[in-house]
Symmetry: D2
Subunit: 132 residues, 4 copies
């Protein structure tokens, strides 16, 4: 899957911490924004996922912090799929400030039935959406 245009955001003041840089937990929020925007570009809102009675859960996540992000930095979030099975799929992320790669990471996702939270197969339409 090519990831198309990146999602652009700016580091918010409230996302920095007393060390003067974006707090390490914020990166997982950036990843979440990136994958939701990817779904939107594929023609699916995250609401579609919920509406279908399932939930996408994050089963695993990882971040490598290469360069600090500062308040007001413009950050480009690139997302692409790296792995897809019937039970789960994985996104890889790259955060760029200009042409500097500042962080990389991944999230692995599974589908669960609501409200039991039991694992179910990733639906075909979602597989199609994310693997385009």
């Amino acid at each position: 899957m090519s990831d198309g245009p990146a999602t652009i955001l700016r580091v918010r003041f409230g996302e920095t911490d007393a060390a003067g840089v974006a707090n390490n937990a914020v990166y997982l929020q950036y990843f979440e924004i990136g994958r939701i925007e990817l779904l939107r570009k594929r023609g699916h809102s995250y609401a579609d996922v919920h509406g279908s009675g399932i939930d996408l859960i994050v089963a695993e996540a990882g971040v490598r912090y290469l360069r600090p992000l500062w308040f007001d930095d413009e950050v480009a979030i690139h997302v692409h799929m790296t792995d897809l099975s019937r039970a789960s799929f994985t996104f890889a992320y790259e955060l760029f400030r200009g042409d500097e790669l500042c962080a990389t990471g991944f999230t692995r996702h599974a589908c669960v039935q609501r409200p039991s939270m039991r694992p179910v197969r990733v639906p075909e339409w979602l597989i199609a959406a994310v693997s385009e």
Copy 2:
């Protein structure tokens, strides 16, 4: 209503911002923690509120920032009710670091029916709980 023992928390590193102090938005989270703990002390979990098919919404909030809160400061949250009608109720908050008053504020609440979000009367059990 006497507010009983205060809720104690520490300013988290992730709650500070690049100015080195607790970000202004965090105070509303502290207020939320304070009122939820107050309900708990009255024998009601916030889940009780949801379970009864209604939701407590915040209709209005205000904060006065008197002294900055720093990372790792131990903060005591005092909550008491200042106003109660059938349609809404108001909590007042005081945040202390030791005996320094660092912030004051209030939140005014109304009840809504789920999922329509239409206003309903505050239930008697909730009035009793918060006005003890």
Copy 3:
């Protein structure tokens, strides 16, 4: 001061809470984003403020929650100044989803010297910037 074009953002999934709507504390972050963007439009980065050895603090804040904001809602933040003195200034905010007014609020600001955090006059360049 006319507030020029509004700042547009989307309610992030991580900004919602278990009630399904944007958490009440998030609004103060939206206000912060709005006023920082206003400064930027006036030709000043927030870094300029810090660089000049002073800090802009929030002395008081208030929010009126009129309609809930849901995940993925596109929100327009309008900001304009309502009050200006040598010691402080006040911004008023309006959050719109389409043409629905969903929240209003204000923040009152003072300037302090770093690192003593003692109040100082609002510098002329900042008065000029925000009162344009």
Copy 4:
């Protein structure tokens, strides 16, 4: 290093998201709280680290989400060191709700000089503190 008593916290309402559970990004905040408390138990405040002209940065982080955490769940954060060199050290985390293991993870840290953010050796006193 034995990790001594766990740090206990409750899932805050504002930490949940519209899926009804603690948002995936919050876990990195829990880890941060856990390691700061560990330092405190070893007799060092995080302020000591800063005061010494260095900063502890997060170079890498990972989380495995095993069971969802719900609003108001009481969570025990266990932290212990798994790796230590002159250039970096690694903490491992386990989040328990009662005796259910709900998440595991790690963070790898390096030291940098402020404000250049260039890597430096982990100081002896910090090595001693975390490896007790």
